[in-house]
Every structure is written in structure tokens, then in C-alpha cells.
């Protein structure tokens, strides 16, 4: 094929994927690396890319330390409780102690942050959330990142990381192709910060047809953070910890501002509160320490997100659906009504479109909610991602190997969805993680750790052949059939995605099986997953756009296989309401109060699983 090879050499810091995490990394890297060559490779256009592309109406992670509102450890304890204990508290503490400085800088750049007229502090939606007019959140952050970078390459789909041929397990850059020109791009770099996204669209969605685009997490979040790092042999953690969202039905519009600020609440078809009746039984499943039906209101511990989902799912299964959000009271106040609509327009316009099309006026009608298909990501109320080193002054030995946010592959760093064990980072925390990774990456280079990197011509040529194989395969086999997409020698990316989604749904706990799985199902699933992996060697792309979809699919498949292995390994039900292990329906702290860590051998594709200790922040004097 006539595509050019374009080589970008002598890069110091390559940012692969520039959403909030990658943008934070590129921006901060310039400060620590005045003389360094900083390059961004972004799949879309950095001005509207990543999960924040359409904007946000809240920043969900802000401590308010300067106003005396919270300390970092308060947020760590909250995230720990919400995730049923399974978090990396060193990384969380580190993120929380820096996050406020990011938010205040956003304000200096012009981000409209709402103020509390009485106190002058930022207007709180909840304990951790502040309200913003964030339609232009991404363009603003993108400008900061672009200003810091030497070069920003838009429309580059990064497909693989380059590995050093001189030293085992050391990163040496990345490769990909331009989705407009088709050209092959090689980025030789001393360090790579993966800021790519988590995974939507790996479980069969509730929607059929067009509505499959209205996923909760962006459809362009193709699990590339995981696909890239797993393929390079980086260890992953907590990949079983997929998230299910209780959201407005079909449009998946956010509910945070409704619950916290508008003070709306949910009810079943009879207009009754339903959560509390499921809690006594659930408390037996997870233990009193995680859900204390009598003491919860006294302890001020919020009820974990997954457990509230559990009540929702069971109430619907008991025939008491739909669950509705009671908006009719709050929306009588014109100010709150306006906020309710702005909340959608600022971050999920599709929900406004849906209500307009179905004549739902929340002033006169209580809208329906639903529980979504599962998503795999690491910055909302879940913590999938790479097993990363923490900061030197906080992390215990098992969590520390020299450089903050560096994965188990040398020179390979992560931010945002890419980093495991750090839920509740959201936009501001992801940006902060990028900053931390950038500082560490510059230090890594200054310490001479990237010296002597060698990328062989063989590797560059081999990856080129890999990348274009789907187009080559199409060309070779297309004319065997008259027309159409049914071909005995290939499947197209959409057909492959459909198969992946069906498989994940039925064997790994999707919506059609009410989030249920077990060992037998997962073993069958893994067998089918292997066959899909083989078939993806025969995925066919008729043009460059389909080539993009083919590589997104391959990243989704790698992420999905990891999810299955992790789900099989953790033999307990840690997060009822996210998923259930039917053969181990209880939370088991005796055996499973640990983090799960996996590695896929890049040569053989074999998985090894291990348990890593779970450290918690406690008072100095506590035993």
C-alpha cells in the first residue's frame, strides 16, 4: 500500500491519548522538562476528545482544603468505602492532596465555577462535587496542553507501544496510523504516558440500533488504555471491577446533581421508597462493616454505589419497576428547573433530546431510571487499570518501584482511566494524575533511565504490517463474494464488536443475565474469547475508517479478556449491584481483601494472576 511512513524521533515524553489525563500530562511536562521534546498523539481532535468532549456540569473531585472543607484522607476513606475496600490508598491520597491546585488553575484560565453567595467558596453539589458551566472544559484544557507540547498530532490512532530492543521490558515509543491520510506514524520516545480511555461498548448495550451510540461512557472510549498496556505486558489491577450506572432511562443522563443539589429522590411503581427493604438481606451478603442497616445514618458513611444498584436491580426483578426519579417537587422551583436542564445540556445533551421527543416535562412527570450495561474504566466509581507505582513519600514497598504512576513496564506511565485502583478521580483527578506522571517521567529521563534505547527497523516494519493487515485481508478476500458483508474468510469490525458484546453480556455478567456469572460461564467465555482473538486476525477493513474501528475492537477485546480473567480469579461477590458470582455470592474478606493483579505474557498470550496486599490509611496510633 502507498501509505507513507512518518518517523518522529528523539521524543522525551509521548502522550498517547489526550483527554483530561493526557492533557494534564502534556501541560505539566513542560514545567519539569523545559528542554524536553513533548509530543501528543490523539485519536480525534484534542479540542473535543475524550470523555469530557461534550463538557461537564460538575467537577466531582475537589477537596476544598484551602477553605477547610476536607483533607485528602477524608476522600480516601470515602473512595475506600464506595469501592468496598478495594482501592490503592497511596495513589488516592496523592491525587487528593494535589487536585485542588488543578481546579483553581482551571478557574484562572476562565472556567466558570459557580460560587456559594453566602461563603464565597465554590458552590457544592455534594461533599466532593462543585458545580461549573463546563461546556468548554475540554477546549480550555486542550489549549493548555497544546501550548506546552512541541507538537500535537491529531487523528492518530495509536495501535501499539514500541518496545526497546536493547533492554527487556522497557518502552520505546508508540506506533499508529493517521485516520485521515492513512499514513503510518512512528513515535520514538524515551517515555510514554498513556492517557487513553477506558471501555464503553464491550458489554451488549440495552439499546438496539442507533441508540447504541448513546452509551454512558463515550463510544470513542475504546479501552485503548488497557489494550495498549496489556499488549505490552504491563500488569493490570482490579479489571473485574466493572461499573454499572443507575441513570435516566435510555439517555443515560446524569443523576448526581438531581440527587445532591435538586434533592430529588427515587421511588418504585407504587410510589414507595424501596432501598431500605433490600438492605437487611444485603447486609448479610456483604457484612455489617460494609452495610449497617441500623448504624449507617449514625456513622455518616454513604451507602456504596454498587449496593444502591443492588436494591434497584432487585426491586425491578420483583416486579416493582419502573424506578422513577421524583422531579415534580423540585422542578416547581424555576431556579432548580433551570439547573436540571442545564445539567444535561452541559454534559449529556442526548437526555434533553430524549425528553423533548417523548414529551417528558419533569415538572409534571417523574422520569424513569434504569441500570446500564457494565463499563470498564478507572476514573468514575470504579478503579480498573494498570498496576502503577505510587509516590516515594507515601507508598509501602509493594506499591513502590521508583517513579510515580509508572506501570510495571519501564518508562511507561499512566493517567486517568489507565491507572488502576484510583476511582473517584473524575476529570480533575485524571488531569492531576497526568501532572504527577509527567513530573515522574521527566525525572526518569533525567536519572538516565532511558539511556541507550534502541528500536530496530524490524520492529517498525513488523508493526506496519500488523497495522494494515485488516485492509490487506479485505483486499485479498473481498472479490471471492459478489457483494455484501458475508464472507467465509473475514468478519468486519461491527460484526466482531457484536460478537464481543454478546459474549461479555452472557458470560461475564451483562444486563440480559442480570449481572450474573460464575466459574463455568467464565471458562466457556474465555474459550470463546480465544476464538474471537483468532478471528480478529482476520478482521477486514474496507477503508481507513474501518481500520480505526478494527483497532478499537482489538483494544476492546484485550480489555475484555482481562476482565474475564480477573472476574474468574476473584472468587467472591465483592460488589453486588456491579456483578455477582453465582457460585460465591458472599463478600469474603478472609480470602479476598486483596487487590487482583494480572499479567498477559506478550509472547504467549497466557495470563498469570496474583493477589496483592491491600493497605489502608489509619491513624498513627491505630493498631
Amino acid at each position: 500500500m502507498a501509505y507513507k511512513t512518518i518517523i518522529e524521533d528523539n521524543i522525551d515524553v509521548l502522550v498517547a491519548g489526550a483527554g483530561l489525563g493526557g492533557s494534564g500530562a502534556a501541560w505539566e511536562a513542560r514545567y519539569w522538562g523545559k528542554d524536553k521534546n513533548i509530543v501528543i498523539a490523539e485519536k480525534a481532535n484534542i479540542n473535543r476528545s475524550g470523555a469530557v468532549a461534550q463538557g461537564l456540569y460538575a467537577i466531582n473531585c475537589y477537596m476544598g482544603t484551602r477553605f477547610g472543607e476536607n483533607n485528602p484522607e477524608d476522600h480516601v476513606r470515602y473512595a475506600r468505602m464506595d469501592l468496598m475496600g478495594m482501592v490503592r490508598e497511596d495513589l488516592l491520597f496523592d491525587m487528593a492532596r494535589h487536585v485542588d491546585s488543578a481546579v483553581h488553575q482551571f478557574e484562572e484560565w476562565g472556567m466558570p465555577i459557580m460560587k456559594n453567595p453566602e461563603t464565597g467558596t465554590y458552590l457544592r453539589e455534594g461533599r466532593w462535587q462543585i458545580m461549573i458551566h463546563g461546556e468548554s472544559y475540554k477546549p480550555m484544557v486542550a489549549e493548555a496542553a497544546t501550548k506546552s507540547a512541541d507538537k500535537t498530532f491529531n487523528r492518530i490512532c495509536v495501535t501499539h507501544l514500541l518496545m526497546d530492543d536493547a533492554k527487556e521490558n522497557r518502552v520505546a515509543g508508540a506506533v499508529g496510523f493517521n485516520v485521515r491520510t492513512g499514513n503510518y506514524h512512528v513515535f520514538k520516545s524515551k517515555t510514554v504516558i498513556v492517557g487513553a480511555g477506558g471501555a464503553s461498548n464491550i458489554f451488549k448495550p440495552r439499546s438496539v440500533g442507533e441508540g447504541a451510540g448513546r452509551v454512558w461512557y463515550a463510544p470513542w472510549s475504546s479501552g485503548s488504555a488497557y489494550g495498549l498496556m496489556i499488549e505490552a505486558g504491563a500488569k493490570m489491577t482490579q479489571m473485574e471491577n466493572r461499573i454499572v450506572l443507575a441513570r435516566f432511562k435510555d439517555g443515560y443522563g446524569p443523576v448526581g446533581a438531581y440527587f445532591l443539589h435538586l434533592k430529588t429522590y427515587t421511588q418504585n411503581c407504587d410510589g414507595e421508597e424501596y432501598e431500605s427493604k433490600w438492605f437487611p438481606e444485603l447486609s448479610k451478603m456483604v457484612g455489617k462493616e460494609y452495610l449497617d442497616t441500623e448504624g449507617q445514618h449514625l456513622s455518616h458513611k454513604p451507602i456504596p454505589t454498587c449496593l444502591r444498584n443492588h436494591a434497584f436491580i432487585n426491586e425491578v426483578a420483583a416486579g416493582k419497576g419502573p424506578i422513577q426519579m421524583v422531579t415534580m417537587e423540585a422542578f416547581q422551583d424555576p431556579h432548580l428547573e433551570e439547573i436540571g436542564w442545564h445539567n444535561f445540556l452541559g454534559m449529556t445533551v442526548g437526555q434533553a433530546v430524549l425528553w423533548a421527543s417523548t414529551d417528558v416535562n419533569p415538572k409534571y412527570e417523574n422520569p424513569e431510571l434504569t441500570t446500564s450495561e457494565p463499563y470498564v474504566m478507572g476514573s468514575h466509581a470504579t478503579g480498573c487499570g494498570a498496576w502503577c507505582s505510587g509516590p516515594e513519600d507515601i507508598s509501602p514497598d509493594e506499591y513502590f518501584w521508583g517513579y510515580n504512576r509508572m506501570t510495571t513496564v519501564e518508562g511507561l506511565f499512566g493517567a486517568g482511566d489507565a491507572v488502576g485502583g484510583t476511582p473517584h478521580a473524575f476529570s480533575s483527578g485524571s488531569f492531576t494524575e497526568g501532572r504527577l506522571a509527567a513530573k515522574a517521567a521527566c525525572q526518569y529521563i533525567d536519572d538516565g533511565k532511558a539511556d541507550g534505547i534502541n528500536v530496530s527497523q524490524e520492529q517498525i516494519e513488523r508493526r506496519k504490517v500488523d497495522i494494515y493487515r485488516p485492509m490487506e485481508h479485505y483486499k485479498v478476500n473481498r472479490n471471492e463474494i459478489v457483494a455484501g458483508d458475508v464472507n467465509p474468510n473475514y468478519i468486519n469490525p461491527r460484526q466482531g464488536l457484536d460478537r464481543l458484546q454478546k459474549m461479555m453480556d452472557e458470560y461475564a455478567g451483562g444486563v440480559t443475565v442480570n449481572y450474573m456469572t460464575n466459574e463455568t460461564l467464565l471458562n466457556i467465555g474465555l474459550k470463546k474469547m480465544k476464538l474471537l482473538e483468532e478471528d480478529l486476525e482476520k478482521v477486514a477493513a474496507k477503508d481507513i475508517h474501518e481500520l480505526l474501528r478494527a483497532w478499537e475492537l482489538k483494544h476492546r477485546q484485550l480489555a475484555s479478556e482481562s476482565v474475564m480473567h480477573h472476574t474468574l480469579f476473584r472468587k467472591e461477590t465483592r460488589w453486588p449491584g456491579y456483578y455477582y458470582r453465582g457460585d460465591a455470592l458472599k463478600l469474603d474478606d478472609e480470602n479476598w481483601h486483596v487487590l487482583t493483579v494480572s499479567r498477559r505474557d506478550p509472547k504467549t498470550g497466557e495470563y498469570t494472576m496474583e493477589k496483592a496486599p491491600c493497605y489502608h490509611l489509619v491513624g498513627e496510633d491505630e493498631e
Binding site: N45, P112, L345, A356
Partner: protein
Amino acid sequence: MPTFVYMTRCDGCGHCVDICPSDIMHIDKEYRRAYNIEPNMCWECYSCVKACPHHAIDVRGYADFAPLGHSVRVVRDEEKGIISWRIKSRNEEMDLSLVAPITTKPWGENIPQLSDAPAPADDMRNSQLLYNEPKYIRLDDGGLHTLESNGLKLKEGVYY
């Protein structure tokens, strides 16, 4: 719900192609105008709608759950620093106009160029501080929060 493009308004300038995060706004080869090539990968994020200089792009709700006859239109103005929305329901009983700021400052003038910031000294490099810190991260004049400063330790085991 994907987006669609009005034939008579589009001049094929390609702003939507340039901005679409999902790479689904393409130029039709025959008509030389833009269209959505993959509606089931459209998030209805409105990035293309906002970017279109001719207001040629609109959204028709996802066919599998959104009935016809609604309208959510938008104008985004960087110079004025505002975004204006109009929502009309199918039954025409609801007609809302909503305006929100997108910035508090003149667009694009207030983001610092970090290469102009003074280089960090060695003690800054050897600390845990990031650019511009410890500004904004403390109530008092102290430095960064640490386990020691907050009376904490990390301990292996089961804690709630």
C-alpha cells in the same frame, strides 16, 4: 440520534469532519457535503453542531427510543463567551431557552505558556510539589499534605 446534515445549508467546509470525536462526520463523495456515516457510534455530543458555521447540522433522536418532532438547537459564541440553547418538545407544550457562560475571561487569552515560567529549583524537583504548588492546596501556610503531617500511616489488613 444521531446528527444529520441539511442538504441546502451545508457547503462542505469540513469543520464537522475536523472536530467529530467519533470520526463519523464525513464528506459525501457525490454531493460534496457532510453526513453522519455511522449513527450508532454517535454520542449526540453536539461537537459538530456547535462547530458548523452554517447551522447545517441538527440532531434527530435515536430511532430506537426517540419519537420524531422535537428540537434541541444551540449557538456557541466564543467572543461573547456564552452558549445558547433552545429546547422544543414534540407536543410543542415545552419551549425552553437557556443561556450559560462558557468562560469568564476573553477566550483563549488566559492560559499560561509554561515554557515562560521560571524553571523549578532543585529543592522543588526533589519535593512532591507540582507546578505552582503549594498554592491552593492548604488552608494554612504549610506545605503539601503528607502521612506525617496528617498523623497517618498505611497498614496492611482489613480496615473499613
